[in-house]
Symmetry: C2
Subunit: 483 residues, 2 copies
């Protein structure tokens, strides 16, 4: 049986299953997420070889990514059991107040069927059963996946595993369905009246086109697009002097990881003009083997982006990269440019997806502040420095104002899946700056609050009833009760 | 000194004050909100007469509304001191994990300068210093108010009171500024690159035009529009039989309150065909005095909406209303229509702002379900019934799926300002279904999360440091600590 449904079939199934799924209690819903995780772990050795063939990412990375993916599903199960995501708030009636206040009880409910657009660069963790699917399911929303055309066989195989796991626990088929990876199915899905929200990870161009479709519907719906970012890392004079070579090596490791195909790739290293750092970076790039890229369109866009930059007068080519036709692999590209040029050239602040990064060299540390002031919205930004350097106090608020995550003496690739993670940021990093697509709070995107007023106990949802029947965190008359 | 600035001056001042204001500690920020509340209370007897002249809403209502407005500011001060709105989450480093996990600490930060569009129908509570202004200030955002043209002198007077209160506590002028009430200033404000979010309460037409401007900016920003709603109230057969006349009277009281100029006005009463309910409603409408409306455009739109409906073949005019030219007042209008007609006529599900409501009569209680299935998004919906009637179990999930607030044996007018209130709902009730513009959670609209990764204590914001220096609620390694 194929896992692919027509858009109409999938939306009808998702709508039909929505009330059943929204009504699941927290234990049932968490167990369902864990059942999917267990089934994917059990099928790992069948799935990884397909992913290796389709993505060229390598067995070690992809095996690790399965663990990350099932870990995401299990964190979401934990979030569901915890119950805080329901946001329960109760205020007792005050009949003698002026005006009298009724009994009021608030809780988050699922938005309804969610369309998830799978990404290419994490064939497991941001794809068919990735973070968006896990978060929407945790919220109590049925999910229709638009698979990524970069790994069609993997999408089919992993969806079959999940659907079997769901069938085994008695869930209706509409809880998790999939349409084809064709462009038109994606368009039809976003514009289908039965879909209540869209989650997307991918290119700025594709994401903005779909966001516009979602906004232009007769009944617009929330669109959560994660569109990538340049993720600049700033190196202070002290850090460069003390450990410049090691920073340069760390940077090369981060921007060439996975052939630079991460939305958290550090696209700029902003550092003092320093021959030792340059040399260390060039040497490190020399040690990076040529890598295959995910798809031909991604490879072509990368080579085009590199040649556009190399052609610019201000660019100093430290390591030219290039494409090896025989193996269809690319070499990492390392470019240098004066900070003053970047401040004046907005095109250099655009993402170039792939193993390329810019060494942005400053003559005066104050140029870091001027550069920070013209940065677009970012998923991540960072500082390599010492805590007592005065420039840090000036740089930090500028990065906090523009990024979803700010890191210290580290690299942005490798996004931990935790309660505290924020993977989001102001436009153009995302289309919804207050949301995250990684970590426990990813569930919040698929919920909306409802307040029940003056409702008898029997008519209230169970988590809102007197005595906290589910033992979950609630705010009662203004006071937090951890449950 | 005039309170009105040009858009450019106001945005420049808001931007200049933003970092100072974002950096205020919780006590300072709460005190500032309370200082505004105290100053408005002290000026009440000067402000109310201006509001009476400009809005025609009456001294008693407007005096009460001042209390509501300062109550909102004081609830927001309480929300600020509580600190839960910061959403602090800490996860310790796990250096031995695969991959190693860094120290991660998450907290909400203010979005930046917010444009608040004041509404006409609550000259205090949803206007210049209303709920949106209070919530944005609580979040740490500077505010630029676009005043409502319906009460220009009141806007000027109350803004002067607030600005003096802020000056007295040493706040920079840019924390709270105001532009003119002209249309062009509103457009320029939404499209100014220094504005980071917009809050709007008003008509669907005006709101959607501004929402489009916000979305079409080179850098789109969140737009929180509350656009009104028809707020249907369903009466079960048992409730109608037991207390139909009293329900009819309550309904008339609710839809004629404030000349029906509430976004929570019950625009439909869905009840069994019942002569006693009709008679009681007609008698109650007969006892409602003619009322002046807020502005001439609102009055004209109301009279137009009424005559459109009266002209429809399916409408039964129970009380025709009409306009009294001499006193420029309108009479309440009461119309009846079969449920089957409403289900087939989407225009009857559009809001008509003013003292008019539809008695929607059903022959079979199942028609309530069919009607509920075609409802648009709603701010509120309700049931008058008995908890053990089976139809209630079928109706409730339909109302929860469409409304931000569901009420029992009550009326939607009168929105309590509490921790648990939800004043929002799916489109077209609002443009952002997961948000509320009334109650403690209104602050959430103006925040976005940031995660600090591997950051030394000295560089971390104080609320994220070890030992919980501010004593606020935090989630630490997955466990809630109420602080």
């Amino acid at each position: 049986m194929s896992t692919v449904m027509s858009v109409d079939e999938a939306c009808a199934a998702a709508e039909a299953a929505q009330q059943w799924y929204a009504d699941t209690d927290l234990q049932t819903r968490a167990s369902l997420l864990e059942a999917i995780a267990d089934a994917v772990d059990a099928a790992r050795d069948d799935l990884v070889p397909i992913a290796v063939e389709e993505s060229r990412l390598g067995i070690e990375r992809l095996t690790g990514e399965v663990g990350r993916t099932t870990g995401q599903l299990r964190l979401m199960a934990q979030v569901v059991r915890d119950g805080a995501f329901l946001g329960v708030v109760l205020d007792k009636a005050l009949p003698d107040a002026t005006p009298p206040r009724p009994d009021l009880r608030r809780m988050n409910v699922p938005l309804g069927p969610v369309a998830v657009f799978a990404a290419s660069n994490f064939p497991f963790a941001f794809s068919t059963l990735g973070g968006d699917t896990a978060a929407a399911l945790a919220a109590g929303c049925t999910v229709v996946v638009k698979p990524n055309p970069g790994h069609p066989r993997l999408s089919d195989a992993i969806m079959a595993v999940a659907q079997q796991a769901l069938a085994d626990v008695g869930a209706p088929r509409g809880v998790l369905t999939m349409v084809s990876h064709g462009l038109q199915d994606g368009i039809d899905l976003v514009t289908d009246d039965r879909i209540e929200a869209v989650a997307f990870t991918g290119s700025q161009r594709g994401g903005l086109a779909l966001a516009k479709l979602a906004a232009d519907r007769p009944r617009p719906i929330p669109f959560y697009g994660e569109l990538g970012s340049i993720n600049p890392i700033f190196v202070t004079p002290e850090a460069a002097a003390e450990r410049g070579a090691s920073i340069a090596e760390g940077w090369v490791g981060s921007f060439t990881l996975g052939a630079g195909q991460f939305c958290t790739k550090p696209g700029l290293l902003v550092a003092p003009r320093d021959e030792a750092m340059r040399s260390a970076a060039v040497a490190a790039v020399g040690g990076v083997p040529a890598q295959g890229m995910l798809t031909q369109p991604i490879r072509d866009a990368f080579l085009h982006g590199v040649s556009e930059r190399i052609d610019m007068a201000s660019i100093d080519v430290l390591s030219g990269g290039g494409w090896d036709a025989e193996t269809d692999t690319v070499h990492a590209t390392l470019l240098a440019v004066p900070a003053s040029e970047v401040i004046a050239t907005p095109e250099l602040l655009e993402e170039c997806f792939g193993p390329m990064s810019l060494l942005v060299e400053y003559d005066d540390p104050k140029q870091m502040l001027a550069l920070a002031d013209v940065l677009p919205g970012l998923l991540a930004a960072g500082i390599h420095g010492n805590a007592d350097e005065p420039i840090v106090d000036e740089l930090m608020p500028r990065l906090v104002a523009r990024a979803g995550r700010v890191l210290w003496n580290g690299w942005p690739t490798g996004v931990a899946v935790t309660w505290s993670m924020q993977h989001g940021g102001p436009f153009p990093a995302t289309t919804a700056p207050a949301t995250t697509s990684v970590g426990a709070s990813a569930v919040d995107r698929f919920l909306r609050p409802v307040t029940w007023q003056g409702m008898p106990q029997a008519v209230l949802p169970v988590p809102l009833r007197d005595g906290n029947p589910w033992g979950i965190p609630r705010r009662v008359d203004g006071v937090l009760d951890p449950g």
